[in-house]
C-alpha cells in the first residue's frame, strides 16, 4: 500500500524527519504515537504534499507509484487522504460545494461515474447522518464556526465520501466527547476493509480500544524508534516515552 523509506524532510530549513521508515500493507491499521513536536503532523503534511515541507532524502510510494513529485490534488486522487489535526475554516465556500468539487475530482480521476447534484446530495446527507452531523452543516461555510468536535466529524465525513485507499488520521480523536469518539471509531471501523489502510496518529490509548490497530509505532525525534503490537500502546500509557532511549537522543 504505502512504502516510506529513509524519509528526511525539512520545514523552514529545520530538519524534522530524520530517516523514517514505514511499510503498510493493504488492510492494515497502524497507530503512531509519540511526544509533542516529534514530527507526526509533519509526516502527514509531507505525505499529503504541502508546500514548504521539503523532502531532502528517501522515497515514498503509494500503490507502487512515487508520490513525492505529485501535486497534493494528484495524491488525493490517487487515494491518499489526510484528516487534519486542525481542519481549516473557509468562510464563503459552502461545505456542500466543497465536497462536491472534491468528490467529482477524485471520482473522475479514478474513472468512477460522476454523481449528479441530486445523487450527491443524497449521499452527503447519508454521510452526515453516519457521523452524527446535522444536515444544516452542508449549507454552512467549510468548517466555519464548527466546534472542535464538529470539525473532526466533518473530516471523517469527507473521508467517507472520498473512499480513499490510505487514510491518515491526525489526532482525529482529540477534542471529541465520549459519544463523538464512538461515532468516529465506528465510522473508521465501518470503512476498514482488505484494500484500505489507515495511519492513526493519537496521544490516547483509549482510541485504540475502539479502533484496534495491527501495529503501534512510536515516532520520536523524526524517526520510528519503536514498533510493536497493540499492547505497546498500553505500555506507553503506563510508562510514558522516557524509557525509550532514542526518544531523547535520536541518533542521526
Amino acid at each position: 500500500m504505502i512504502s516510506i523509506k529513509n524519509l528526511h524532510a525539512n520545514v523552514e530549513d529545520k530538519n524534522i524527519l530524520k530517516g523514517l521508515n514505514l511499510e503498510i500493507k493493504p488492510g492494515e491499521v497502524h497507530a503512531i504515537m509519540g511526544p509533542n513536536g516529534a514530527g507526526k503532523s509533519t509526516l502527514g503534511n509531507v505525505l499529503a504534499g504541502r508546500d514548504g515541507y521539503e523532502v531532502t532524502d528517501g522515497s515514498v510510494t503509494l500503490n507502487g507509484k512515487d508520490i513525492l513529485e505529485m501535486e497534493p490534488e494528484e495524491r488525493a486522487r490517487e487515494g491518499l487522504f489526510l484528516a487534519f489535526q486542525y481542519p481549516v475554516e473557509i468562510p464563503g465556500v459552502s461545505n456542500l460545494e466543497f465536497l462536491k468539487a472534491s468528490v467529482d475530482a477524485v471520482r473522475a480521476h479514478q474513472g468512477k461515474p460522476a454523481l449528479d447534484s441530486v445523487q450527491f446530495l443524497k449521499l452527503a446527507r447519508e454521510k452526515c447522518k453516519a457521523v452524527n452531523l446535522d444536515q444544516s452543516f452542508l449549507k454552512r461555510g467549510v468548517n466555519e464556526g464548527f466546534s472542535g468536535g464538529e470539525k473532526k466529524r466533518n473530516e471523517l465525513m469527507q473521508m467517507m465520501l472520498l473512499e480513499p485507499s490510505l487514510c491518515i488520521l491526525d489526532e482525529t480523536d482529540s477534542g471529541l466527547d465520549i459519544d463523538a469518539l464512538q461515532v468516529v471509531a465506528e465510522g473508521v471501523n465501518a470503512m476498514r476493509d482488505a484494500n484500505r489502510s489507515f495511519i492513526v496518529v493519537t496521544h490516547y490509548q483509549r482510541l485504540l480500544d475502539y479502533i484496534v490497530p495491527d501495529y503501534v509505532h512510536v515516532l520520536a525525534n523524526g524517526r520510528i524508534v519503536k514498533s510493536g503490537g497493540k499492547e505497546l500502546a498500553l505500555e506507553l500509557e503506563e510508562k510514558g516515552y522516557g524509557w525509550l532511549e532514542s526518544a531523547d537522543n535520536g541518533a542521526a
Binding site: E71, P72, E73, F84, V88, P91, A101, S117, G141
Partner: protein, 456 residues
C-alpha cells in the same frame, strides 16, 4: 489634453441642456464646471485614479445610434430578475424594453406634471449640494458637468406609506457607436415618510468593445421612517468609462441599505455620499469590486454623521486580478453634535497576482466624544492553508483559487436582503472568477441541488 477635454465637454453640455425646468441648474452647473479644473495626480481625491483614458478618448458628442440589439435585449433582463423595468440605451428611453408597471412608477423630467415639476425643483441638486460643504473630495467637477449637461432624467416618487411590491430596475445600457460619445444620466428618487422600495440601478452594455463615457448621478431623498434598498450594479464591458455618484439624504428613523457592485472597466470612479441629517437613521452600505486585466476601479465613500443617534455599517470587499488597480477610500465624518453615533467600516482586499494593486484608506474624522467607531482595512493574498486544504481533497489548484476568491465575496452576497438579486448575481460573479466554466460549476451547487432556502 485636460484643457481640450474641459472645453469640449462644456460645449457639449451647453448644446445638450434644453429643458427650461432645469435651466437654473444647468446655468449653475455650467458656471461651476467652467471654473473648476480637471483633477490630476496632485489632486488628493484622484491621486491613484488617472483620467488619462477619459481625457484622450474624444467623447465630445452624444450617441448617434441607439439601436436595440439582441445583445442588449438579453442584458436588460438582468438574469430574468422579477422587477418593474425601465431601460435606457445610450441615454434614450427604450419603450420597447421598458414595462408598463415601471412607466407608471416613474416619470421623466421632460414629462413631469406641475406637481412633479415642483418636486424636481425642490430636490434636484440639493442632496448633491451637501457634498460641497463637507470637503470630502466627492464634490467634484463631474457632478457640475452632470448639472451642466442635464436635459432629462428619471424621477421616482414613492408616496407616503406607499410600498413598491416589486423591485424597480433602471437599466442604463450602452452600445458601441461609430464615434466615441458621452452619456449623461440622472436619477432622483423621493421616498415620502413611511415609504418603502427596492431600487436596482443597472449599468451594463452588450459585449462589443464600448466607446462611451457615462456621467451618472443619483440623488436619493429618504423621508422619515422610509426605507430604501439600493442595488447599484456595474456590469459594463471593460472599455466603457464611467464616473458616477450616489448622494443620499436620510431623514428621521429612515434606512438606506445598499449594495454596490463594480466589475471594473478601463476607468470607473464611484462616489457615494450618505448624509445622516436627522436622528435615528441607519445606513447599511456594502459593496464589492473585482477588477481584472488592466482595469481601474475607484470607490470613494463618505458617511456624514451630522446629528446624534444615527448608525452606519459599511463593508466593502475587493478582489484584484491581473494588472488591475482598485482604490477604496472610506470616510466617516462625525460632526461635533453627532453624539451617540455608532459607525463601523471594514474593507478587505484580496490580491490574486503580484501585479494587481489596491490603495485602501479608511478615514475616520471624529469631532464628537461619545461615539463608538471601528474601522479596519486588510490586504491579503489567497491563504496557503486554505489552498492546501482544498488541494488535499483532490480539487485542482485553479479551481481552489476560483472557489476561494468567490467565497471571499460570497459572504456579502449571502447577506443580501433581496434573495432574488443574490440568485442573479451568484452565477454572474462565479463565471467572472472561473473564466473557464469547469472552474466555476461547483460554486452554484447549492442552487442546482435545490438546497438553498430549504430547511434541512
Amino acid at each position: 489634453m485636460a484643457e481640450q477635454f474641459h472645453a469640449q465637454q462644456l460645449a457639449l453640455a451647453t448644446e445638450q441642456a434644453r429643458n427650461p425646468l432645469l435651466a437654473a441648474l444647468n446655468a449653475a452647473g455650467q458656471q461651476a464646471f467652467a471654473a473648476a479644473s480637471v483633477p490630476n495626480r496632485k489632486t488628493e481625491a484622484w491621486k491613484y485614479t488617472s483620467l488619462h483614458n477619459l481625457l484622450t478618448g474624444d467623447f465630445q458628442r452624444t450617441a448617434s445610434q441607439s439601436d436595440l440589439t439582441a445583445g442588449l435585449r438579453e442584458v436588460a433582463t438582468l438574469g430574468s430578475l422579477k422587477a418593474a423595468r425601465l431601460v435606457f440605451i445610450n441615454g434614450q428611453l427604450s419603450s420597447e424594453l421598458s414595462d408598463a408597471l415601471a412607466l407608471q412608477q416613474v416619470t421623466l423630467f421632460s414629462q413631469a406634471d406641475a406637481e412633479q415639476q415642483a418636486l424636481i425643483s425642490q430636490h434636484l441638486g440639493t442632496v448633491l449640494a451637501h457634498a460641497s460643504s463637507n470637503n470630502s473630495g466627492s464634490a467634484h467637477l463631474f457632478n457640475d458637468l452632470n448639472n451642466a449637461a442635464l436635459n432629462d432624467g428619471v424621477l421616482i416618487h414613492v408616496g407616503k406609506n406607499q410600498r413598491l411590491e416589486q423591485p424597480l430596475q433602471i437599466s442604463w445600457l450602452s452600445s458601441n457607436n461609430p464615434q466615441p460619445f458621452s452619456i449623461t444620466s440622472r436619477l432622483l428618487m423621493v421616498l415620502e415618510s413611511g415609504a418603502e422600495a427596492t431600487l436596482v440601478e443597472h449599468y451594463a452594455s452588450d459585449e462589443q468593445p464600448q466607446n462611451s463615457f457615462t456621467n451618472a448621478l443619483t440623488e436619493l431623498v429618504i423621508g422619515d421612517n422610509a426605507r430604501l434598498q439600493h442595488y447599484r450594479l456595474q456590469l459594463m464591458q471593460e472599455d466603457a468609462l464611467h464616473i458616477g455618484s450616489t448622494h443620499v439624504d436620510l431623514a428621521r428613523d429612515s434606512q438606506y441599505s445598499a449594495f454596490h457592485l463594480g466589475l471594473g472597466t478601463r476607468l470607473t470612479r464611484n462616489d457615494i455620499v450618505v448624509n445622516h441629517n436627522v436622528g435615528g437613521s441607519h445606513c447599511e452600505l456594502n459593496g464589492v469590486y473585482i477588477p481584472q486585466n488592466q482595469q481601474l476601479l475607484d470607490f470613494h465613500t463618505c458617511i456624514e454623521h451630522k446629528v446624534p443617534h444615527c448608525t452606519s455599517n459599511e463593508v466593502f470587499r475587493g478582489i484584484m486580478n491581473d494588472k488591475a488597480r482598485a482604490v477604496f477610500n472610506g470616510r466617516i465624518h462625525i460632526h461635533p453634535q453627532a453624539q451617540k453615533t455608532l459607525a463601523e467600516l471594514s474593507n478587505k482586499n484580496l490580491l490574486l497576482t503580484n501585479t494587481a494593486e489596491i490603495y485602501t484608506k479608511p478615514e475616520l474624522e471624529i469631532y464628537a466624544d461619545d461615539v463608538k467607531c471601528a474601522h479596519g482595512a486588510t490586504v491579503a493574498q489567497l491563504e496557503e492553508k486554505a489552498m492546501f486544504y482544498m488541494q488535499s481533497r483532490g480539487i485542482s489548484k485553479k479551481e481552489a483559487e476560483v472557489m476561494l476568491s468567490f467565497g471571499f465575496i460570497n459572504e456579502l452576497l449571502e447577506a443580501l436582503p433581496h434573495e432574488d438579486i443574490a440568485l442573479v448575481l451568484r452565477p454572474l460573479l462565479a463565471h467572472r472568477f472561473g473564466r473557464d466554466q469547469s472552474l466555476s460549476r461547483h460554486l452554484l451547487e447549492n442552487e442546482t441541488a435545490g438546497l438553498s432556502g430549504e430547511n434541512a
